[in-house]
Symmetry: C2
Subunit: 123 residues, 2 copies
């Protein structure tokens, strides 16, 4: 019944978080401390399996958030917001900007991250 303690706990953490979590944040929040590499591997697997997606923050830091309705092929057109005050990254799943590209570009993925001040920090 119990398989992959760490991976499942990491999945729980991400699922239950309203903001995207970095490797570092995940590491800190894990009760049962585990090796860094274990976390990297778990994140890779979870992405492969379509449970989470990676968001590259404006400063290059990778953060991870739950997918809603992804199988193995991720489709994330939605916008992310990165707060420069509290450093939180949030998925704005409702917001999907559209635009047309010149001929010849084949789009597979998109990473859209706006940065500024989030509602909490600007209140």
């Amino acid at each position: 019944m119990i398989k992959s303690l760490n991976k499942n706990q990491i999945k729980e953490l991400i699922d239950n978080s309203d903001i995207a979590l970095s490797h570092q944040e995940i590491s800190k929040r894990l009760e049962r401390q585990c090796d860094r590499v274990t976390i990297y591997r778990a994140l890779d697997k979870l992405m492969e399996e379509g449970f989470i997606h990676r968001i590259v923050d404006v400063d290059g830091v990778s953060k991870f958030a739950a997918c809603h309705g992804c199988t193995k092929n991720h489709h994330h057109q939605h916008v992310h917001f990165s707060c420069s005050v509290c450093s939180s990254v949030t998925c704005l799943e409702e917001i999907e900007p559209d635009f047309s590209l010149p001929e010849g570009y084949q789009v597979q993925e998109m990473n859209i991250t706006l940065s500024g001040v989030c509602p909490v920090c600007s209140a």
Copy 2:
């Protein structure tokens, strides 16, 4: 007359490139080899001065491209395209998607990077 040999040469490299350049690529292209740190510092300065802007690629790699019409306050709403075949990152300065955010979000910067296959590699 000659001031900041390296910084100026780095600026030239970026200005004359049609794709965004990473720190690594800049380092290789510099004839007069210089210290890694010097390049980082030059890039920071050039950004401060509004000559170049940083694009965070989908894999977290920072790339740098020339600004056209930025002073000290950068304004880059435009889209970037990252080719998964040739790893090139290109500014699509004409393409500026628009969308509206929920109340409370104050946008300062945006990093929009689409990935897929570029016209050259898809031809």
